[in-house]
């Protein structure tokens, strides 16, 4: 299944699940940020030098590194 790390710049996806392997505190923060089941995420760009991903979630822009973005399962909108 596709992860948030696999999305292209400009693509909007919907969150399906957060991997069980994620730390409890991290999952709960991600949910608070809006990375929750059924909610949309817009991938703004791949980070500079293939670094962290830049995504718009609700009214904020965040950058997430591969380690966490690859554990967020998404599907194309």
């Amino acid at each position: 299944m596709m992860s948030l790390w696999d999305t292209a710049g400009g693509q909007t996806v919907t969150v399906t699940t957060l991997d069980a392997g994620l730390d409890q505190a991290v999952s709960s923060r991600l949910r608070e940020m809006g990375l929750d089941n059924g909610l949309p995420v817009l991938c703004l760009r791949r980070g500079p030098f293939n670094g962290a991903l830049v995504v718009a979630i609700a009214d904020c822009v965040y950058s997430l590194e591969q380690k966490v973005a690859s554990k967020i399962r998404v599907k194309p909108l």
Binding site: A25, D36, P48, G51, D59, V61, S63
Partner: protein
């Protein structure tokens, strides 16, 4: 005194609201036990306390742990009358996420809470309106729309806060302990309210995303980053020069005016050599510290610092660091102590430890006087490209770069060593990119002035004491016999063998040893030593004196590299010990950096 506390998420205009409510009559204190900067100021008959910003009550980083713990303590405190929760009106969802958790917590502790719906001017500018009465009704708490920037609604808010606090003081709110909170309810509720009352996110983020398209682009973003960093270091030299000249002239005029009044003798010698020569030669560098603080402040307040952290994440991760390490690294160029504390925002304990241990290798402002003096001695003042590029500025940049490269190499070594082996508890890199904003000048100028004040207050007494001590030891038993026959001369001869391999005579040895108290002492000590030597009583000529005295290029470069690497600051060592909790680790660090510094200085002296 009864207290009102101000809370909110970071980058939500909270500090500006605090400034408007207290009118900059504020003082900075630390939480007892842990060093967290806590600003407080007088607001009517209350003490208003600005708490560090937090994203959530469930924490990820050390700084959030401390902030939440302290908020809980404040809520338990009988003297806390009211909580002001600052919301960013343009980003209602993320603000309410924290705000509603805070509201639930305040309810649990039986404390009154009011919401300040800040940045309402921006909402109006976007052509949107928020139904404040409806939001207040749905939240079940008073909400006031205001702008701390344009002052819209501030007067009404002040009146309301005083009234609400007085009501809370006179009433006995329910203080029965409630069961622990289920934050998931707040999360869902905040989303619903934000959808109902907030602005569409596409409107809010449009400008920010357009600028980011340039700033985070692989090519243009990289060039912009390098340009910003280069200009930062150049400006320390270019912009500060007229101010430094002014300070230097003022000290020179004062010195000759006062010594003319006293006439020749021991007092005049003391004033000239110890006071103006020692303390004065260090005061000259205060403008550079102010320029550095100003630029870092502008970068932080404009929102660029978060982008810089993102740009650096990938390169820094090769050295076992996080993109967030960039912020402590950059602020360490002003002072290592706040930088070590800023490392608390780093999500991973391991990366936080590596950052803290390598932060002292960044060239802090205390090294600035040493660099400025020796660069002036060793490098010609040649300018290129119409004066924009100054060869001395390039040398400065090189020294800063040397510190950064050394820090990265040490990080790489540490990340592969067992000292920091707790990968399992690593937290991932999650960083909010705030809106770009024009910095608000008043608090920025306040920050710049207080940086200068703190620098003078912290180092001034030490430098004065050292200057006085050196002067006394150098002046007696008799000033007629010359410096070499003085007590200082004798001590200097004892320690000379240590500094001989570095190509330095005993005067530099004394100055280096003294500067283990604080690095700035080096310039003051040399000022006093060369002053007593009588080559030139004008402190402006210290660099010329050292040049005339025949310091070789290799030995001079050796001193410079020694100062880049050696950990010579008592306050930094104490902070590191408190933050790492290990005296042994910090002791090993001081020794390791000391040995490396000595070795580098010796290689320079032998081979350059």
């Amino acid at each position: 005194m009864k207290r009102i506390i101000l809370v909110g998420k970071p980058n939500s205009g909270k500090s500006l609201l605090f400034n408007q409510l207290t009118g900059l009559r504020q003082k900075v204190a630390n939480f007892p036990g842990v060093t967290v900067e806590l600003k407080s100021g007088r607001f009517d008959q209350y003490q208003l306390v600005d708490f560090p910003g937090a994203y959530s009550m469930s924490t990820l980083t050390r700084d959030e742990d401390i902030a939440v713990e302290k908020i809980n303590q404040a809520l338990l405190d009988q003297d806390t009358s009211l909580i002001i929760c600052n919301l960013d009106a343009t980003r209602l969802q993320s603000s309410l996420m924290f705000g509603m958790q805070m509201q639930a917590l305040a309810h649990q502790y039986g404390k009154a809470l009011v919401f300040a719906l800040n940045m309402i001017d921006e909402v109006t500018r976007f052509g949107h309106q928020i139904d404040v009465a409806g939001l207040s009704r749905d939240l079940g708490a008073p909400v006031f729309a205001l702008s701390a920037k344009t002052l819209d609604g501030i007067a009404e808010f002040k009146t309301a806060v005083i009234q609400l606090a007085a009501e809370a003081d006179s009433s006995n709110l329910n203080t029965v302990a409630l069961p622990p909170l289920d934050y998931s309810v707040q999360v869902k509720q905040s989303r619903l309210l934000a959808t109902q009352y907030g602005m569409p996110s596409s409107v809010v983020l449009k400008k920010q995303n357009a600028i980011d398209a340039f700033m985070l682009n692989n090519v243009s973003g990289g060039i912009a980053f390098l340009l910003v960093m280069f200009l930062l270091f150049q400006s320390i030299f270019t912009f500060a020069t007229p101010l430094m000249d002014a300070v230097e002239n003022a000290i020179g005029v004062s010195a000759s005016f006062i010594t003319d009044l006293t006439g020749p003798g021991m007092l005049a010698d003391f004033l000239n050599d110890a006071l103006f020569g020692g303390l004065g030669s260090f005061l000259v560098f205060v403008p550079q510290i102010m320029v550095l603080t100003l630029i870092i402040g502008v970068l932080e307040d404009s929102g660029y610092l978060a982008r810089a952290a993102l740009i650096c994440h990938r390169p820094l991760s090769y050295f076992g660091l996080s993109g967030r390490s960039f912020i402590p690294y950059l602020s360490a160029h002003a002072c290592a102590i706040p930088a070590i504390l800023a490392a608390r925002t780093i999500e991973s304990p391991r990366k936080r430890l590596i950052t803290m241990l390598t932060v002292p290798l960044m060239s802090c402002s205390a090294r600035l006087p040493v660099y400025a003096l020796l660069v002036a001695v060793l490098i010609p003042d040649t300018r290129y490209l119409g004066g924009i590029v100054n060869l001395q500025g390039v040398a400065f940049f090189g020294l800063y770069l040397f510190g950064i490269v050394t820090a990265l190499l040490v990080s790489l070594l540490l990340s592969r060593s067992a000292v920091t082996d707790n990968e399992k508890s690593d937290m991932p890199f999650i960083l909010e990119l705030p809106s770009y904003r024009f910095p608000h000048w008043k608090p920025l100028i306040h920050r710049v002035l207080s940086s200068a004040k703190q620098f003078i207050y912290r180092a001034g007494p030490v430098i004065f004491a050292v200057s006085l001590g050196i002067w006394l030891l150098g002046y007696f038993p008799t000033s007629a016999g010359g410096l070499e026959d003085s007590y200082l001369g004798v001590i200097g001869q004892w320690i000379e063998p240590i500094f001989e391999p570095l190509g330095l005579d005993w005067r530099y040895g004394v100055a280096i040893l003294m500067s283990f108290l604080a690095r700035e002492v080096f310039v003051g000590a040399l000022g006093t030593l060369f002053g007593i030597d009588g080559a030139d009583e004008n402190i402006a000529g210290l660099a010329a004196n050292i040049q005339a005295d025949g310091l070789t290029f290799g030995a001079g470069m050796g001193i410079l590299l020694f100062y880049v690497v050696a950990l010579q600051c008592v306050a930094t060592v104490a902070t590191l010990k408190a933050e790492t909790g290990s005296a042994r680790l910090v002791g090993a660090l001081v020794f390791g950096y000391g040995m490396l510094a000595y070795l580098l200085a010796m290689l320079c002296a032998q081979f350059l």
